[in-house]
């Protein structure tokens, strides 16, 4: 029997139903300490004083760490892509969001650690905070970072952008221009298992870190940067994780427990409470998307302009990447020959936002598809017809010039209609994703067409490409 294509049992099925699967929190070690954190109660403030002396002498406490204990405190989640580090592991002179980490205690019990956290003395000078990303450039708004409230992809260009085709001509030719605003909100990844880590300083100088990370090597890289250690000195243990949905790419519990385990010379476990998960961990970003479509009376989309603002929260995490990905997908499943898209990463005093299932595209899909239904309504056209007509065909090009080799929007729509009991006219039911021709190839779509080529990394003779494609 072939394994591929078969509904084989889960590899970990029996382990799951007997609770034999081991998650990070299920490991304990002799002498293990529990970590608890002091977090910012305010959205924006200068830290005037931070005194851990009393906390460090509380019963059961083995170590208290602040930013000065972290070998390299400020690291970025996108340094591998050349984006400057901006986020302190533990706050230094300021806090930029409610829940930001300031200090962490390791004690023999959770309760002792909690009590010791409550004994840390900290004094804030609150500052006005910035929350509405639409006002990022307004002169009366406070600045989240010393560089202002908008990230610059390039020194002279803040936005990630797409420019494709003659957008001005498309809007000049249009019969109707439909504009709308779409604002998907921030939500929690909320996996059942809270973020947890257990770090052990080994006698040979290495550090073993049990991690709930979704990306062991990625998290190991970030942890190594904080510790100023080569990654070879770290060993990440994990691979069995209680859900992630993007939230467990953020790497905070691992470096924090590593730093404090090295200081305390004891294993340290840190398991976030649900409240920390809900209030202090990253969320899916809130987005603001404005779309203007230049359309013809008979339902062709000639051009599209967009403005997107992405609420990154107080630090960058993975926002710049999310916004690039978002921008590439603002034409949705459709062929639009003229595109002008501008996407901005806006820093606010919200909790940093990061990856969540659909990363950057969920917001684009929501905005684009809701807008498509509106365009259909304005034109008095059936929403199925509008979609089927403009849907990508073989040889159509995306806003970032990807040539579609075999897009299946037409097929999925037709099958969905059938499954939902929607009776489409025979002309639509007969549509395929074959290269455009005849009535489906109006003049405005001719120039964007390309002939798809066989991919360099395509499988051949039942085996994958054995070498990279560059």
């Amino acid at each position: 029997m072939k394994a591929v294509g078969a509904s084989l049992p889960r590899y970990d099925g029996v382990a799951h139903v007997t609770a034999a699967s081991r998650f990070v929190d299920d490991f304990s070690l002799p002498g293990m300490l529990w970590a608890k954190a002091l977090r910012s109660p305010v959205a924006s403030a200068r830290i005037l004083r931070l005194d851990t002396a009393r906390s460090a002498t509380m019963p059961g406490v083995h170590a208290v760490i602040t930013h000065s204990d972290v070998p390299n405190n400020v690291v970025g989640h996108q340094e591998v892509w050349g984006i400057a580090p901006d986020e302190p592991l533990l706050a230094e002179h300021e806090v930029r969001y409610v829940g930001q980490l300031i200090a962490v205690v390791a004690a023999e019990t959770e309760a002792q650690a909690l009590a010791a956290v409550q004994a840390i003395e900290v004094e804030f000078e609150e500052r006005p905070a910035f929350f509405d990303m639409r006002k990022a450039w307004d002169s009366d708004q406070p600045h989240v970072t010393p560089d202002g409230n908008v990230y610059f992809y390039y020194p002279d260009q803040p936005q990630r952008q797409i420019r494709k085709g003659d957008v001005a001509a498309a809007f000049a030719e249009a019969d109707v221009i439909v504009e709308g605003v779409y604002r998907p909100g921030a939500v929690e990844q909320a996996p059942a298992e809270p973020a947890s880590a257990l770090s052990v300083a080994e006698p040979n100088g290495r550090v073993t870190i049990h991690s709930t990370s979704q990306a062991l090597y990625y998290s190991m890289d970030i942890t190594a940067r904080h510790l100023r250690m080569p990654i070879g000195q770290l060993k990440f243990v994990g691979g069995t994780v209680g859900g992630g949905f993007g939230g467990k790419i953020d790497t905070l519990t691992e470096p924090v427990t590593a730093v404090i385990a090295l200081k305390a010379r004891r294993p340290v476990k840190w398991r976030w409470t649900r409240e920390e998960e809900m209030l202090c961990s990253s969320t899916r970003a809130a987005w603001h998307v404005e779309i203007a479509d230049a359309v013809t009376r008979d339902g062709w989309i000639l051009g599209r302009r967009t403005l997107t603002l992405h609420d990154a929260g107080a630090y960058m995490r993975t926002s710049a990447y999310a916004c690039s990905k978002h921008t590439f997908h603002l034409a949705g499943a459709y062929s639009i020959p003229a595109c002008a898209f501008n996407t901005f990463v806006v820093m606010t005093n919200h909790v940093p936002t990061a990856a969540m299932r659909g990363f950057g595209v969920t917001s684009a899909s929501f905005a684009v598809e809701t807008h498509m239904t509106r365009v259909a309504e304005v034109l008095g056209m059936d929403p199925w017809e509008l979609r089927l007509k403009n849907a990508n065909r073989v040889g159509d090009t995306s806003p970032s010039r990807v040539v579609y080799g075999n897009p299946s929007t037409v097929t999925t729509l037709l099958v969905a209609a059938e499954a939902a009991g929607v009776k489409l006219p025979p002309k639509q039911r007969a549509m395929t994703n074959a290269m455009r021709e005849g009535a489906l190839l109006p003049a405005h779509l001719v120039e964007q067409q390309r002939k798809p080529e066989t991919h360099l990394l395509a499988w051949r003779d039942g085996r994958p490409a054995l070498e990279g494609g560059s």
């Binding site: 059961g60 019990t109 309760a111 009590a115 010791a116």
Partner: protein, 264 residues
């Protein structure tokens, strides 16, 4: 390590074996934390939100009896599950408080003390609360009790039986979310009574005299329900805004009154 789970001095824990012992230990309520079912207090302990010096536990205090019919006598430590078995509408709404496991553990006393879903039902039924604390034992109308429940130990409830009752709740469908709005109505000998809860997080439920007056003046349910906004001052909370609560309350009150019509 295990013995000293709490870093602060271990609280003194008293498991009361009788009502009298519970009352004596509770005293005037100063410095004492009460655990009935534990669904409210235990997370506060776990997360270090409270560090009590003394804790009174009620599970063996004999406060979990239900007796009588009219009025129904319900002990303060009766679980929501047990109450749901015997209570008349709208108090039978206890069966709709999620979820099965919580109902089996949470107590009526706890629910009523923290602004829970049973308050409106008890108000419209004209229930009275017997409690202990500073100044000794007292029996008072539920509305008086919930206006200032802290420092009181709930011993029991006296719940008169109505001629008919109904209950409408709007809650998000997640089983654990607190209700956005709870409306209870009851027909008693002296007319129709209306109360609403869920006006804000932990806010006490209130009776709706404006609606009751309109009804006794002969107004039809929809018209009478509209005046509910004069009786309430809703607030924003994580589940709904003050605007929404005000906007939708007349609708829910009207629906409850229509259900009551059908029930009588």
């Amino acid at each position: 390590m295990l013995a000293s789970r709490l870093a602060a001095p271990e609280p003194e824990v008293v498991v009361a074996r009788s009502e009298a012992e519970a009352i004596a230990v509770f005293g005037d309520g100063a410095g004492i934390t009460v655990i009935g079912g534990g669904t409210i207090v235990t997370p506060l302990l776990t997360h270090g939100a409270i560090w009590p010096e003394r804790v009174l536990m009620l599970q063996a205090a004999g406060l979990d009896d239900i007796s009588g019919r009219d009025p129904l006598e319900v002990g303060g430590a009766v679980t929501l599950a047990a109450l749901a078995e015997v209570a008349p509408e709208p108090l039978a709404a206890a069966a709709r408080i999620p979820d099965y496991e919580i109902r089996g553990q949470a107590t009526v006393g706890g629910n009523v003390t923290v602004g829970g879903d049973l308050q409106p039902a008890l108000i419209v039924l004209g229930a009275r609360v017997r409690s202990a604390g500073a100044g000794g034992e007292r029996l008072e109308p539920i509305e008086d009790f919930i206006a200032a429940p802290w420092g009181r130990l709930v011993l029991s409830f006296e719940v008169p039986r109505p001629l008919a009752g109904a209950f409408v709740q709007q809650r998000r469908r997640h089983s654990h979310t607190h209700p956005v709005i709870t409306v209870a109505v009851a027909l008693r000998g002296d007319g129709v009574h209306v109360a609403v809860g869920g006006l804000a997080e932990h806010a006490p439920a209130v009776a709706c005299p404006s609606v009751e007056r309109a009804l006794s003046g002969g107004a039809p349910p929809r018209e009478a329900a509209a005046s509910v906004v004069e009786d309430v001052r809703p607030e924003d909370d994580p589940l709904a805004s003050a605007w929404y609560r005000s906007r939708v309350l007349p609708v829910l009150v009207a629906r409850a009154l229509e259900q009551l019509e059908e029930a009588r």
